[in-house]
Every structure is written in structure tokens, then in C-alpha cells.
């Protein structure tokens, strides 16, 4: 393998990234960076290979490396790590050689970082299975907003597809301006600007929000008050979209 100072371009999809990395393996190239940002760079040559994208590559990866590794690759892809493409490059490189033993190679810095990035995505996804809040809109549509640190919407929908399989629902990632909507059969991910959502809430929405506030305030035990622990478990950065704590904050 040859280290270069070149930057390689992919077109912002997991598949495109995998196809590019596989090609780089064939060419024996370790790039300086991989990015979907085509801006010119003064110090490094920027190269676009225009490869054909065949999604058979994912199936082949699963056959060769097992599902666990491919899922981790995808989770790293969803992470907010600044060099996630290079983490995927190295994780795939070592997985190709060591297969599942790659999970015992945390002593290698990039592998440790890659597993941390994927763990962060997994944990944040798990948290939002609980922290997401739906509102009932007119015509029995359920609507939720959130702003996760990692791009977890594409995996979070799997949970709600099972949980609310007989409802119409929408989830908006406000930070990335994408919306997932579910029509009782499939989930679709779209740019939020493409959708025109009527956010008028249903008649009984207010009533249940108030009941929830009552429950939330009552269930905390005064003699055990521990706001530090509360914040530790439910980080402040998420509060904006969690009504019960967001409105509680203004009480102080």
C-alpha cells in the first residue's frame, strides 16, 4: 500500500463510498483523505474516479465479512466524526485481513476511533428510541422533531416502524433538514424542503401534554433531588425538543 497526498471524492452515499474504497484497495492507494466535498484544495490534488455503483458490493461484503462488520461500517458512515471516511477505509482494510478479529484490535488507534464512532451512533440511536416526542396533528398524523449529534434518522426509523406500524408518522431531523415519513407500509426519507407539512395540532393534544407534565413533575422525589444525575442521563443538548424538561427549565 502506498501513502499519497491525494484527496478522493465520493458522491455522498454509503454505496458510493464503499465502491471508491474497494477501488483504492485494488490500486494499493492510501489516500490523504476521502470526502464528498468537491471544493478545491490548494495543497492536495483532488481526484474523482467516476466509478460505477453496483449495490451487489454490499451483499458481497456481508457474505465475506459477516453482517456485524457491515453494520459497523454503516454506523461509522452515519457518525459526525470529521474523518469518518478514513475510519471506514481503515476499518474495512483491517476487516478484510482480520475478519471478526478486528474487534480485538483496539490497540490500533484508527480501529479504536472507528469502533468508538460506531458505538456513539449506536448509543445515540438507542437514546432517541426513548427521547423522541410525538405530537398529534390534525387528521391523526404523528409528528416528531429532534436534532441528534449523529445522522441517526435512517436507523431510528426501524424502531418506530415496528412500534407504530398502524399509524401515519413523520420524524424531522431539524439539524440536517431531512424528514422520514411512514405511510403504514414503508418509510421514506426526503429533504424537508420537498414536503409541505401542516403542523396544526389535534384538539386533544394540549390535554395530554398537560397530563404528561403533571406526571413528570409528580414522579420526581423531592428528598432525592439530583439535577446533576438528571442532566448526566439526559444531556442538555437534547432538551430543546423534550417538552417536559424544556419547560421545566424556565421555572428556575
Amino acid at each position: 500500500m502506498k501513502k499519497t497526498n491525494e484527496i478522493y471524492i465520493y458522491n455522498d452515499s454509503f454505496l458510493s463510498l464503499l465502491v471508491l474504497i474497494k477501488k483504492l484497495f485494488l490500486l494499493n492507494i492510501i489516500p490523504f483523505n476521502i470526502t464528498n466535498n468537491c471544493e478545491l484544495n490548494l495543497f492536495n490534488p483532488v481526484i474523482s474516479l467516476n466509478l460505477e455503483e453496483d449495490d451487489l458490493i454490499i451483499k458481497r461484503l456481508i457474505d465475506n465479512l459477516g453482517k456485524r462488520i457491515v453494520i459497523d461500517l454503516y454506523y461509522i458512515y452515519l457518525s459526525n466524526h470529521l474523518k469518518k471516511e478514513m475510519l471506514i477505509y481503515y476499518f474495512l482494510l483491517y476487516s478484510t485481513k482480520y475478519h471478526e478479529q478486528v474487534y480485538n484490535l483496539r490497540r490500533i488507534g484508527v480501529i479504536n476511533d472507528a469502533l468508538k464512532a460506531s458505538g456513539y451512533v449506536r448509543r445515540e440511536n438507542h437514546k432517541f428510541k426513548g427521547f423522541l416526542r410525538f405530537k398529534k396533528l390534525k387528521r391523526e398524523v404523528w409528528y416528531a422533531e429532534f436534532a441528534p449529534t449523529n445522522n441517526i434518522l435512517p436507523i431510528l426509523v426501524n424502531h418506530f416502524k415496528k412500534r407504530f406500524k398502524n399509524e401515519y408518522w413523520l420524524i424531522k431531523d431539524v439539524k440536517r433538514n431531512i424528514v422520514a415519513f411512514y405511510d403504514k407500509r414503508e418509510v421514506y426519507l426526503r429533504d424537508a424542503n420537498m414536503l409541505n407539512i401542516n403542523l396544526e395540532i389535534a384538539q386533544d393534544e394540549q390535554k395530554f401534554q398537560e397530563l404528561w407534565q403533571t406526571f413528570f413533575k409528580t414522579i420526581g422525589i423531592k428528598e432525592r433531588q439530583n439535577k446533576n444525575l438528571q442532566r448526566q442521563m439526559m444531556p442538555k443538548k437534547y432538551w430543546q425538543y423534550i417538552e417536559e424538561v424544556n419547560s421545566e427549565e424556565s421555572d428556575y
Partner: protein, 398 residues
């Protein structure tokens, strides 16, 4: 009385129950609303830092029992309320659809008789499961003394069922809860143990014990826990620091012993996952867990002849006895050291808390610190770290 006020009263009466876990259930492939996540999900955290996973309410806080420690005891002059089954369903379903909760935790004071109370709970859960096809998590309290066929019916509607033993020893229970007996509780636990199936209480049973009532030491409490795990196959024992809700010369007036409660949870964890026995942690002569050191540190400090353990040679069980090494890092050490011997830098990447583990381990014969392995030295060095860690989690007692 409107629904707001009822919810306020009946959540307030239920809040002292420590259990809020929603784990261990399995989604059944039936049409309806909801699903169950095997690992459990926390939806919010209340001002005391406890997880909110379930809508935790009493069906009613009216009670014919007069247990001294209970806020809902017969003699207390408090506002009483009672839900209707439809009201419980309305709140549960609407909270669930908004993703506020993972399911329902329904308990109740005893009205008229245990049988009558259980039949009200059954009516509520039947409505929820059969009329509204609710498939979320349900934890229900079994009422000791109710007829077996009613307990069976109730268990078929719930994911988890629990009976609180309340106190570790018979004399204490007799003194503080004259209407309750451990025999009655064990009878229900035995029934649940012997009837577990995918339809009947699939997530198993749990219980709760109060902490901080006089005469009961950690030794009493942990022995009771060991008995319950071993003989009744409980999934969890919860510990609840007693909060002085009632005035009585038999009851303490101190602030809740939160740190002691925390130590009991740690000891409980060691017993369930780390191959510790009660006798490793406390004894009749030394009946209390240390508040200064966590239980594993205490064990290590009083068994220094077993340490230091060599990370690259010792067994999995021995790794688990090292402070700062958890289940996950122990497993990672086991599988990584097959590839290459580990050094201290590697351990950090595997998730070992080196600042505590370093005193008790060697890596291929090498000790982390310059000076040799000295007991009083370790004791002194562990304190400040432990203390500052505890202070950030819990306020000082009293």
C-alpha cells in the same frame, strides 16, 4: 375530581416504588399498538435523576392495610382517589403514542380484599390488551393473599409481575407491616417461578426492599436478595432508601440513606454478574458495606494477598475481581490477549478504569507504579477519587 388531579394523586402515591425497568420482554407477533425492546428504553429522567420508562401509577391509593412506613396507610389523612379501568387505558395509550413511555406499571392499594383488588387490575389490563390491542410493556403488582387463579389471569396479561418483600427479615415485617407476611409473598413468587412461559410473565419477576429501617443491616438485606435470586429466580431486587413519610417512634427521621442504597445496588450487581457471594462482601460480625469504598474495592483491600493479578495470565473470574474492570472490559481482555500480550496503554483502550485498576494488576509481571505494592498506600490513594466520584452522583447523607 378531574383526570389531572387523579393522575397527580395516584402518581404521587406510586413514586416510591423503585422499579422502572422495561427490559426482558419479547414482542409477540400479534397485530396492535406497540412493541417491546428486549434491552428496555428510558424515555425521560425525573428531577431526582431516576429513569422514567413506565407510567407508574396506583389504581387506587385507598388501602385497608396500615403499614407503618407507607404513605398510603389506612390511618393517614391524605387525599384518596381511584381510577376507572377506562381512564388508565386512555392515559396509557395516549402517552404511549406520543412516545412518553414504554408501557404501564400498575400497582394498587388494597380495597375491600386482595381478590377484589386483583380483579380490578385484571379488568384494566384486559381492556388494554384485548379491546385496545396494546402490545407495549406492562408491569403489574401481584397482591399477596389473592386466589391463585386470579394471579394466573393477571400474569397472562403482563410482561412482568412483582411482589414486594418490603423488609428483609420476618420480625421487622411483623413489626412494621402487621397485615403482611413473607409467607404470602413467597407463595406468589413460587407460583410465578413455576409458571413462567412466553404467555405468563415473560419478563420474569422482581421485588423491592426498603433500606434504612432500624435493625436491618446490609448483611440481612443481601442475604435476603441472595435467597430471592437463588430460590425464586427473580430477575431483579430493587432497593429503596426509606424516605420519612410517616412519623412513628419505630421509624427513622433521617434523610434517605442514598449512598447506602447505591452500595447495595453495587453489591447486588457483583452477586449477579461478577461471581461474588454475600460472604465475600459482608458478614455477621461486619454487617455493613463500606460507604467510603465501593464493594469491590473493599473486597480487594481486605484480600490483598490475592493481588496483584496479572492481566495476561489470570482467569476471567479473577479479572472480574479487579476494581476498575467491568464485564465488557474483562471480555475484551480475554479475546485481545490471545492475539498479543497487553500493556497498560492497551488496557485504557479496552475500557479499563486504570486509575482504580492500576493498584491491583500487573501486565506481564510489570507493576504500574514505581513503588511496590503496599496496603496502606492503596487505601489512602483510593479515597479521594472515590469520594469525589460519589459526591458528583449523590448528595452527602444527613
Amino acid at each position: 375530581m378531574d383526570l389531572q388531579e387523579k393522575l397527580q394523586i395516584l402518581a404521587d402515591s406510586a413514586k416510591y416504588d423503585a422499579s422502572c425497568s422495561s427490559s426482558g420482554g419479547k414482542t409477540q407477533k400479534m397485530p396492535g399498538l406497540g412493541s417491546i425492546a428486549t434491552s428496555g428504553i428510558c424515555h425521560s429522567y425525573s428531577s431526582d435523576g431516576r429513569c422514567i420508562s413506565l407510567l407508574k401509577i396506583l389504581f387506587t391509593n385507598c388501602c385497608i392495610f396500615n403499614c407503618l412506613y407507607c404513605p398510603n396507610r389506612r390511618d393517614n389523612e391524605i387525599k384518596r382517589a381511584c381510577f376507572t379501568p377506562e381512564e388508565v387505558c386512555e392515559i396509557t395509550l395516549n402517552f404511549y403514542r406520543r412516545n412518553y413511555i414504554e408501557g404501564l406499571f400498575l400497582s394498587s392499594g388494597i380495597i375491600k380484599s386482595p381478590d377484589y383488588t386483583v380483579s380490578l387490575l385484571i379488568k384494566t389490563l384486559e381492556l388494554l390488551r384485548h379491546k385496545y390491542h396494546f402490545r407495549g410493556y406492562i408491569h403489574v403488582k401481584a397482591i399477596p393473599g389473592a386466589r391463585e387463579e386470579l394471579i394466573k389471569k393477571l400474569g397472562l396479561l403482563a410482561d412482568r409481575m412483582s411482589v414486594n418483600v418490603e423488609l428483609a427479615t420476618d420480625p421487622a415485617l411483623k413489626l412494621l407491616a402487621p397485615n403482611k407476611t413473607h409467607e404470602n409473598a413467597y407463595k406468589v413468587m413460587k407460583y410465578i417461578r413455576d409458571n413462567k412461559s412466553p404467555q405468563f410473565v415473560p419478563a420474569g419477576q422482581s421485588t423491592q426492599m426498603l433500606v434504612g429501617l432500624p435493625e436491618e443491616s446490609d448483611w440481612h438485606i443481601l442475604n435476603q436478595s441472595q435467597n430471592l435470586y437463588h430460590n425464586y429466580h427473580l430477575k431483579r431486587v430493587f432497593y429503596s432508601a426509606y424516605i420519612p413519610v410517616n412519623q412513628n417512634k419505630l421509624l427513622p427521621v433521617l434523610n434517605p440513606p442514598l449512598k447506602r442504597e447505591h452500595r447495595l445496588y453495587q453489591a447486588d450487581w457483583l452477586m449477579r454478574f461478577y461471581h461474588f457471594k454475600v460472604s465475600d462482601l459482608v458478614s455477621k460480625e461486619n454487617p455493613h458495606l463500606s460507604l467510603l469504598y465501593d464493594p469491590k474495592e473493599s473486597y480487594a483491600l481486605s484480600h490483598l494477598d490475592e493481588y496483584p493479578k496479572d492481566i495476561n495470565k489470570c482467569s476471567y473470574e479473577e479479572l472480574l475481581k479487579v476494581p476498575g474492570i467491568g464485564l465488557k472490559s474483562a471480555k475484551r481482555i480475554m479475546s485481545s490477549r490471545e492475539l498479543f500480550p497487553l500493556d497498560f496503554r492497551d488496557l485504557q483502550k479496552l475500557g479499563v478504569v486504570l486509575k482504580r485498576a492500576k493498584y491491583f494488576i500487573t501486565c506481564s509481571g510489570k507493576y504500574y507504579l514505581q513503588q511496590s505494592f503496599l496496603a496502606h498506600d492503596i487505601k489512602a490513594k483510593l479515597i479521594p477519587e472515590t469520594k469525589s466520584r460519589q459526591l458528583s452522583l449523590f448528595d452527602e447523607e444527613n
